[in-house]
């Protein structure tokens, strides 16, 4: 029996590699798509919070007009945060950290605003304010949940991108590691309340 020539063996190996490469590529594409979808949800929830802020500021203004400094801080933080958007194709860890920092400032400004509302019993008794606050709370909850889901998707994707031999194909096709949300810098310490 004739030995199979070297070229045939090499040919088979190349075809197998090709199959594996296609498979790895398709897997990475669908995981990348999952991350993008999770990211879109995160942005939607932050946008939702952003949309609630003017209404909240106006309601508080009606009862606590002289807290203008705190109110202005919220509006400014919001404006700054809306300027920073991240393209899902470019979710690098640096970009994401920048986005998180900007949104974190909004969270802190909002925290201070809600803290001062404690001093206004009339405001707290206002049903509209109570419902607005509930909406804000619900939105914060949604943000937390969407961030959790995003981190899960990003982690799964990152593991595939970095694992051998997928990393060879990932490099070849330009799939790079994506960033994820770190625990908020202000989360471990409660917002300061000054009297």
């Amino acid at each position: 029996m004739k030995k199979p020539s070297l070229s045939i063996i090499i040919g088979i190996i190349v075809v197998l590699c090709g199959f594996y490469g296609c498979n790895a590529y398709n897997g990475l594409v669908s995981q990348d798509e999952n991350v993008s979808r999770a990211w879109a949800d995160v942005e939607t929830q932050y946008q939702r919070r952003s949309d609630l802020i003017p209404n909240l500021v106006n309601t508080v203004k009606g009862y606590a007009a002289h807290e203008s400094q705190t109110l202005r801080a919220v509006v400014e933080a919001r404006t700054k945060a809306t300027q920073i958007t991240v393209d899902p194709a470019n979710l690098t860890p640096e970009k994401l950290a920048e986005y998180q920092a900007a949104q974190g400032e909004v969270s802190q400004a909002l925290g201070r605003l809600l803290a001062i509302t404690e001093n206004y019993p009339d405001l707290k008794a206002n049903e509209q304010f109570s419902e607005l606050q509930a909406q804000l709370e619900g939105t914060e909850n949604r943000i937390a949940e969407s961030r959790r889901l995003f981190n899960e998707a990003a982690q799964q994707y990152n593991v595939s991108v970095r694992r051998f031999p997928n990393n060879l194909f990932a490099n070849l096709f330009g799939f790079s590691v994506k960033g994820n949300f770190k625990a908020d810098a202000g989360a471990e310490k409660a917002p300061e309340v000054q009297f």
Partner: protein
């Protein structure tokens, strides 16, 4: 020796009993993992009331209303009233519960969790992703402020839950985009389908048997062809034995060979097969009407709803 052994046994049993007692006491603080969900055993039970905080009357009414809500709008609810939960945060607890069981139908994500922890003095209404439009956070808060809170402040847990569910039902009824759960009809549909399939197979088998019987009868032993035709037949009846004997004469259309076939028919057994058929049908449809355990559809929660303390 035997005595010490027995003493050891007794000690063992006592310590086991003590352990059970501590478990029973500790169980008053619930985690999402050990909170009993009666719905899983009986799909008419939406209320988890392990500490007996709600009266049986209230539980029955709540189960009835929540059952109607699931039937008409596909909203799958878990309502839990407990003494204490681990951590004391009703929102976190509800989210964990929703994640664990996947409450709500998957296609419209219409899960709803209502949790009241009387010892922690905290409550949450948690809406599934698909319910956020029907019951926005502000509306949940309004229901809590107007319906739940006044009763909670008076310690009237029954009324707090009844009022809350009634208010929620009103909002859900106003939303036509929510499609009713076809779960109950689905069971019947499956039973019907299974029955039809069974009937089709049975008829097919009978048809096959008849065809085979005819073919066998048409076989001509002389020219080995299937060309025999029945040309005459008569029957004799023996009433005392209850047997009718048929005498069929067949002739081959090819070689004109003739053969006679005799077969007995039991007169008494008439109608037997019909009775068997109806009995089968009865048992098939009877199975659908008994209530089994429910199952959750895999709905997801995005964090919508409202929580509060009193």
């Amino acid at each position: 020796m035997a005595l010490t052994h027995r003493l050891n046994m007794k000690k063992c049993l006592l310590s086991l009993l003590a352990l059970l007692l501590t478990v029973a006491v500790a169980a008053a603080t619930y985690t999402p993992d050990n909170l009993p969900i009666p719905y899983l055993q009986d799909k008419r039970q939406y209320v988890s009331n392990p500490d007996g905080i709600l009266s049986q009357t209230a539980v029955d009414s709540l189960n009835l209303w929540l059952g109607q809500m699931e039937k008409s709008h596909g909203v799958q609810t878990v309502l839990a009233v407990v003494e204490h939960i681990e951590g004391g945060d009703t929102y976190d607890f509800s989210m964990a519960l929703g994640r664990k069981y996947g409450i709500g139908r998957k296609d419209q994500n219409s899960g709803l969790i209502i949790l009241l922890s009387t010892g922690d003095r905290a409550y949450t209404i948690l809406t599934g992703r698909g319910l956020e439009g029907t019951l926005p956070d502000a509306i949940c808060k309004r229901i809590e402020n107007r319906q739940m809170l006044p009763a909670l402040r008076e310690g009237d847990w029954d009324d707090a839950m009844l009022q809350t569910v009634r208010a929620i039902t009103a909002y859900v009824d106003g939303d036509d985009s929510l499609v009713g759960s076809s779960d109950f009809e689905e069971d019947d549909a499956y039973a019907l389908m299974a029955f039809c399939l069974f009937m089709a197979v049975a008829l097919g088998l009978i048809g096959l048997a008849v065809w085979y019987d005819n073919r066998r009868k048409s076989y001509c032993p002389s020219c080995k062809q299937y060309k025999m035709k029945k040309i005459s037949s008569y029957a004799t009846t023996n009433r005392s034995l209850g047997i009718r004997t048929h005498h069929d004469t067949y002739r081959c259309t090819h070689c004109y060979f003739t053969k006679e076939i005799h077969w007995d028919e039991d007169i008494h057994s008439h109608g037997g097969s019909a009775a068997a058929g109806s009995a089968l049908g009865g048992s098939f449809f009877g199975g659908g009407s008994s209530f089994g355990g429910g199952s959750f559809g895999g709905g997801s929660f995005g964090g919508g709803g409202a929580s509060g303390r009193f």
